[in-house]
């Protein structure tokens, strides 16, 4: 893993990193798993609709190196994602954050489910009532 970080570090553009005091200290396995997890949830800015993990574009490798570097420094998953969102915009996240504009996206399905079930229940009840008064048959 370190070998990868080192080789990719060379191509990493010299950027000043927000060096927060490292709060976490991860083991190598944790760094690997967290790094993979984060890079699965972020979109490669270069290639068409691929996540960072799968993308082979140079920028994706740089960003992966960046993620591992920040994990090495003990940054949390959230801090890393925030850092990348600041740099590349909201679009880099595959999981849109909750806001007024994404409320429909997050609550739409639940609302729809309840609305359809309620409508179906009302329609069926009405039809039952109708059938009872009309001698139970339509044929």
């Amino acid at each position: 893993m370190r070998a990868l970080i080192l080789i990719l570090m060379i191509s990493l553009s010299a950027s000043v990193m927000a060096s927060a005091p490292g709060k976490n200290s991860y083991t190598q396995d944790q760094i690997r798993d967290l790094g993979f997890e984060i890079s699965h949830e972020l979109r490669c800015p270069m290639s068409i609709n691929q996540n960072l993990f799968d993308s082979q574009a140079p920028i994706a490798n740089e960003l992966k190196a960046q993620i591992f570097l920040m994990l090495d420094q003990g940054e949390s998953k959230q801090a890393i994602i925030e850092f990348l969102v600041q740099r590349y915009g909201e679009k880099i996240k595959y999981q849109p954050s909750f806001s007024a504009a994404t409320a429909i996206l997050w609550f739409g399905p639940l609302f729809l489910l309840l609305a359809i079930i309620a409508t179906a229940a009302v329609l069926i009840r009405e039809q039952h009532k109708h059938q009872r008064t009309n001698g139970n048959s339509y044929e």
Binding site: E41, I92, Y94, Q95, I124
Partner: protein
């Protein structure tokens, strides 16, 4: 000469489809059976000419006629014959032609089959199918003519099929998907025919059932093969990415699944006819919307191979015409279609209804997520991405609910069921919760909601199916045979869920720099990079890594050979993963960037139970096929049983 012949045949079929779209409806309106008798002739003519037309395109491919633009752009002299054939449907124009041909043939089989005795219904149905064919033929003739010439400067050697598409997957995946869409077109036409006639009888439902099942089988196959192909070919190691193009074919599948269960209700119980009709319209509309999404290029996708914005408008126009027309008709006629509802809350009817609602909500949610970034940009609020994490968090809980209902439905009776019948089901549910909890504890990585939902739903479904088999043990082979299709298909769902849950939660992977003589242990398997070799194939050259794999007991089990392929014709580079598979796990290695003279970025994955995902898909297809064939067989039996008293003339006089 041949391409011009193809074009003329295409024009003839367009004209005959326009006639066929009008004549049956006029004949029924004026009760003119002489006119109605032209239905068969016109259907035959339309189908023959359009089929001959696609054969002309095929001949142009086989004879390397690169003066035809479509052939020149998608074939070259080096291409193997099999891929030349597959290239016919490999891109936009050809796939449209293929789609129309398939609709015509399916319609022709229905018209010429004597199984379907309600000729009025079939007459209306073929008129609608012909209207759809006419729409797409005109679309082809005016905006994407597959026979357009490239004269005088045509490429002598041709160009090339997109190298990614040169795979056995291309031979199966798109045609299966198109056939699924064709099936949905047939069910759409049947729904419109029902609405025009103002009724959907049990006979109509018995026609609709095998068609919906076949459409569903093809769609299942199309999705499963597509996912399989992406897993093997695209080199990104995923099997489902919630990409817009994947969603475009998955959304109609979800609605088709709801449709085929709703048709069962309409057929067996003579109820929920309006729901069935609405689902037919919805499934077709969503499949067209998916085509629009893929072909217009308005969404960014890894799999869009034939996108072009100008085509988008034409498809959108056709979509508008068909969907608006259908919905208007639905609004006008739906209240004439009455069904009797006769069930209580605890009954198979209500459980299937709830399941269908969940499926439709899942489909609409996926649609919402797919279109949300687009809406966002159109409204100028900003940009965002909606991807796998979002879809999983919405879709997995909905699947969980659907699977709970799936387990219950076959175990309770139609109409009404006693509350006490739910007692064994509660016990089964508690057992499956306990098993899921135990599995969760065994893995020891804390509580994971996705793992928990996955294992609970899979065990629940398996337990319910076993309980069903246990209850059927005294009822003889016949009732088992009658239920076999459902049991196999539901078992397929359980198997797919097990595969998906296992791969998503227990995959082990490494991403590392590797060169000759370096090794790595992943999940107990030792991967040793032996050497790098150059491979020269007919259409590409490749740099291949030979990776030796030994298992935990140090026994040699084989080589995995991932490649970086460079195509000769257009220098495009693709990564072809090396996969070593058995029923319990896939070992997946893909090779990426060259990091130094001898070293590459290598990705090694251990994917437990990966192939169960597609194995489940195959079982679903098998179940669906059995059910469809049974339905068609029953129709034939009914025809034999009933006398020939009801002639066309009599029914026409009576009904029209």
């Amino acid at each position: 000469m041949i391409p011009e012949l193809g074009l003329i045949l295409l024009i003839i079929s367009t004209v005959s489809s326009l006639l066929l779209a009008v004549i049956p409806l006029v004949a029924l309106h004026t009760k003119n059976h002489y006119l109605f008798s032209y239905v068969k002739t016109l259907t035959g003519l339309m189908t023959f000419t359009i089929t001959a037309s696609i054969l002309c395109l095929l001949i142009s491919f086989i004879t390397d006629d690169f003066s035809v633009a479509y052939v020149a752009n998608h074939s070259n002299t080096q291409l193997a014959l099999l891929y030349k054939v597959a290239a016919v449907w490999g891109s936009h124009e050809g796939s449209m032609l293929f789609w129309v041909v398939a609709i015509a043939i399916w319609g022709c089989i229905i018209v010429f089959s004597s199984k379907y005795r309600d000729r009025l219904f079939i007459g209306r149905l073929i008129a609608i199918l012909a209207a759809v064919i006419a729409g797409f033929n005109l679309f082809m003739l005016f905006t994407s003519n597959p026979f357009a010439r490239l004269l005088p400067n045509f490429p002598i050697e041709g160009r090339d099929l997109n190298p990614i598409l040169q795979d056995i997957g291309l031979i199966f995946h798109p045609p299966l998907l198109f056939l699924g869409y064709v099936g949905l077109t047939v069910t759409f036409a049947a729904a419109i025919a029902g609405l025009l006639g103002g009724k959907l009888t049990r006979t109509h439902a018995s026609y609709l059932r095998p068609w919906a099942l076949l459409a569903w089988v093809f769609l299942t196959g199309g999705n499963a093969f597509g996912s399989w192909w992406a897993y093997n070919e695209l080199g990104w190691g995923g099997w489902w990415f919630w990409d817009p193009v994947e969603n475009a074919s998955f959304i109609p599948w979800l609605v088709a699944t709801a449709l085929l269960h709703s048709v069962v209700l309409s057929h067996r119980r003579d109820s929920f006819k309006v729901t069935t009709l609405l689902l037919c319209l919805l499934a077709f509309s969503l499949s067209l919307l998916g085509t629009f999404l893929v072909r217009s290029g308005i969404v960014q996708s890894v799999h869009a191979f034939a996108s072009d914005p100008t085509r988008g408008m034409s498809i959108l126009f056709l979509l508008g015409v068909f969907v608006c027309g259908a919905l208007t008709l639905f609004a006008l006629k739906a209240n004439q279609i009455k069904s009797e509802l006769n069930f209580t809350l605890v009954s198979r009817d209500s459980v299937i209804l709830l399941g269908n609602i969940v499926l439709v909500v899942a489909a609409i949610s996926v649609l919402l997520g797919t279109f949300y970034p687009l809406l966002f940009e159109l409204l100028d609020i900003g940009t965002l991405s909606v991807g796998a994490p979002y879809f999983n968090s919405i879709f997995i809980p909905l699947t969980f609910i659907a699977v709970l209902l799936m387990g219950v439905a076959p175990l309770i009776s139609w109409r009404r069921e006693k509350f006490s019948a739910l007692r064994p089901l509660t016990i089964l549910f508690i057992i499956s919760l306990a098993i899921a909890e135990a599995l969760s504890m065994l893995t020891g990585s804390g509580f994971n909601i996705w793992l928990f939902l996955g294992t609970t739903s899979a065990t629940w479904l398996l337990l319910c199916l076993s309980y069903l088999l246990f209850r059927l043990r005294h009822q003889g082979i016949e009732s088992l045979a009658r239920k076999s299709a459902m049991i196999i298909a539901h078992l397929g769902v359980a198997i797919s869920i097990i595969g998906a849950t296992s791969v998503s939660n227990f995959e082990q992977q490494e991403l590392l720099r590797m060169g000759p003589a370096q090794g790595k242990v992943v999940a107990g398997y030792t991967f040793v990079y032996e050497d790098t070799v150059k491979v020269d194939a007919k259409s590409y050259t490749a740099i291949q890594a030979n990776i030796r794999v030994t298992d935990a007991d140090d026994i040699f089990i084989g080589y995995i050979t991932p490649q970086r392929q460079t195509f000769k014709t257009n220098a495009m580079e693709v990564s072809k993963a090396g996969i070593m598979r058995n029923i319990f796990r896939d070992l997946y290695v893909s090779s990426g960037l060259q990091l130094s003279d001898t070293e590459y970025l290598i990705r090694i994955s251990y994917k437990p139970l990966a192939c169960w995902i597609w194995l489940g898909g195959l079982l679903m297809m098998l179940g669906g096929t059995i059910a469809a064939l049974t339905g068609l067989y029953r129709l034939r039996e009914q025809k034999r049983d009933s006398s020939n008293s009801s002639l066309l003339a009599a029914t026409m006089g009576g009904v029209a």
